[in-house]
């Protein structure tokens, strides 16, 4: 399938500060790419360049086969943007916002009206449709913001941290909406700080930090870089923990005395776990709790950026 977005060697400075230092990636038609990175990594900067809002210094950016600098208008007619800050008109009602933006996308008045009604229904905003947007809650505003970028059903959508500030229920609802969009053939580029979100939604993930792509691949590929599943066992007392440690003696064994927990890598879940449980049973060592930890994107993030997402 063709690439909808191609970014080559993208450089961008604000004054003297270089924010993007040679970013490369591409997005295939009909897929979701998640741009993952800590605060200040350059996610918003990248999205603003791709959506024609910001100029760049070096490199090339193609969106839908058009150069974002030379053919900005062509790019604009095929994208929808939901920025990091909600960009709705506070004094207009939800419906008026939708119709106005639809018409600016060159929809006929009737099409804009019909489509607005449809989106208000889809996004659970019918009751608030005729109230000024300034009376909306944060979550409603976010939904309206997304609805506005879908008004002309553009084939390509940029979402800059679409679920930041949403409660868990609204976040799930937003995920369902995004999944439905992709099912309908839309291509999506989203940025997020939530690894779980990238894991859930994205076909491909790019981790950027300090203006560079530091890791790339599907969620599974990234995870497999970090290593295999681990078996975690917790015990009641330090004595039992020590006994267990001496019985197991496997490679890669990690012991956490404070949490009374040990963990070790496993390759074949059935065989390895049974083997270990058999050993413990033979010495009558009692396990308090047991679990299998699959590597998460948090682990990926920590290992490639060398820091947690908070700092």
């Amino acid at each position: 399938m063709a690439d909808t977005i191609t970014v080559n060697n993208l450089h961008k400075s604000y004054g003297k500060v270089e924010v993007l230092k040679g970013v490369n990636f591409s997005v295939k038609k009909g897929t979701i790419l998640a741009l993952l990175g800590p605060n200040g990594a350059g996610k918003t900067t990248t999205v603003r360049i791709l959506s024609t809002l910001l100029s760049y210094d070096k490199g090339s950016v193609q969106v839908g086969g058009n150069d974002v600098k030379k053919d900005a208008d062509k790019v604009r007619s095929m994208i929808g943007l939901t920025g990091q800050a909600a960009a709705v008109d506070e004094l207009l009602t939800g419906r008026e916002n939708l119709i106005m933006m639809g018409r600016l996308y060159r929809l006929t008045h009737n099409s804009a009206k019909e489509r607005a009604q449809e989106l208000l229904e889809d996004f659970d905003l019918v009751d608030a449709a005729d109230r000024p947007a300034k009376t909306y809650s944060g979550g409603m505003r976010r939904r309206l913001d997304l609805a506005v970028s879908l008004i002309a059903a553009p084939p390509l959508i940029f979402l800059d941290e679409p679920t930041t500030g949403l409660d868990p229920r609204s976040r799930l609802a937003m995920w369902r909406i995004i999944e439905q969009l992709v099912k309908d053939g839309t291509t999506i580029l989203l940025t997020t700080q939530y690894l779980e979100e990238a894991d859930q939604l994205a076909d491909n993930i790019i981790v950027i930090d300090n203006g560079k792509v530091i890791a790339e691949g599907s969620a599974n590929q990234l995870k497999s870089k970090i290593g295999s599943d681990r078996l975690e066992l917790t015990f009641n007392t330090i004595k039992v923990l020590n006994n267990a440690t001496s019985v197991i003696k496997a490679k890669g064994l990690e012991v956490d005395e404070k949490e009374l927990k040990l963990s070790l890598p496993i390759k074949d879940t059935n065989k390895d776990v049974r083997g270990i449980l058999d050993k413990l049973a033979k010495d009558k060592i009692k396990i308090d709790s047991m679990g299998i930890h699959k590597p998460t994107l948090d682990d990926v993030f920590l290992s490639v950026t060398g820091k947690g997402k908070e700092d």
Binding site: A87, M101, L104, S111, E118
Partner: protein, 269 residues
């Protein structure tokens, strides 16, 4: 998606015109929904008119030509001053848009760039027209007796329209380059306040110190005031008509491309 989407097919120019109409509708809605500002638009000119006449009237009438009341002298000045101050709302509205991020959304749409500015400027013309009408009606109620015939009224409306457009476009530039709404407020204030007071708006220029008098008599706002005043009172318009039209048209022709340029360049680096 159930709705079948139909797109408008038209020439670039007519699409741009359509975009401007959409944005004028938007900005007009803003004006109508901002009740506080709307009340100000209604009462502030009335208050100024009544206060000025009551406070300065007696003292200044002594220096006016025979048979000219201060009210009839003031009318043109206070209208022009109100319009000039009123145009700062264009600057504030544009600055607000830029701060709130909605301009980012507009920029990401395939719409005409200038339409956002057009919307604010044109809707401001409506609002200023309303203020002006209120002032003239209140003036007539308290004793203003304009001498203008129908054609002269049309000329007055034309000059004031040009003046409003000129000032709103100049203020649009201020709204774009200012970094905050507070900055817009003082920036526009330090331009408009001296320009309107160092003019023939409230007192005849004869009594001013020499340097101020030369400035006041030749600056653009005085030309507009004198033209409107002459038409109101049935005096000869002399050159004021042409100088005021020239100033206004010049300002419009210059400020539109500048506004468009600074708007396009804002925040793209």
């Amino acid at each position: 998606m159930k709705t079948k989407l139909e797109f408008v097919e038209a020439s670039k120019a007519s699409l741009a015109f359509r975009d401007s109409l959409i944005m004028i509708k938007r900005s007009s809605r803003h004006i109508l929904r901002n009740i506080d500002q709307l009340l100000g638009t209604f009462f502030q000119p009335i208050m100024f008119l009544v206060l000025f006449v009551a406070v300065f009237g007696g003292a200044i009438e002594l220096g006016l030509p025979e048979g000219v009341s201060y009210l009839s002298f003031l009318m043109a000045g206070i209208i022009v001053q109100t319009v000039a101050f009123g145009s700062t709302t264009t600057a504030i509205a544009i600055c607000n848009d830029l701060q709130k991020g909605i301009v980012d959304r507009f920029r990401s749409l395939p719409m005409n760039n200038l339409a956002v500015l057009n919307g604010h400027v044109i809707s401001d013309v409506f609002r200023n027209g309303f203020s002006t009408a209120v002032m003239i009606i209140v003036g007539i109620i308290i004793g203003f007796r304009p001498q203008a015939n129908f054609v002269e009224w049309l000329v007055i409306a034309g000059i004031l329209l040009l003046f409003t457009l000129a000032f709103s476009w100049l203020m649009a530039i201020m709204g774009i380059i200012a970094k905050s709404v507070e900055a817009v407020q003082w920036l526009t204030f330090i331009i408009i306040f001296p320009l309107t007071f160092a003019s023939s708006a409230f007192v005849p220029t004869e009594g001013m110190p020499w340097a101020l008098k030369v400035f006041a008599e030749n600056q653009p706002i005085t030309q507009v005031i004198e033209a409107v005043r002459a038409l109101f009172l049935g005096f000869p318009v002399e050159n004021y008509l042409w100088t005021s039209v020239a100033w206004c048209v010049g300002a419009i022709v210059l400020s539109i491309p500048i506004a468009a340029y600074v708007y396009r360049k804002k925040n793209v680096n």
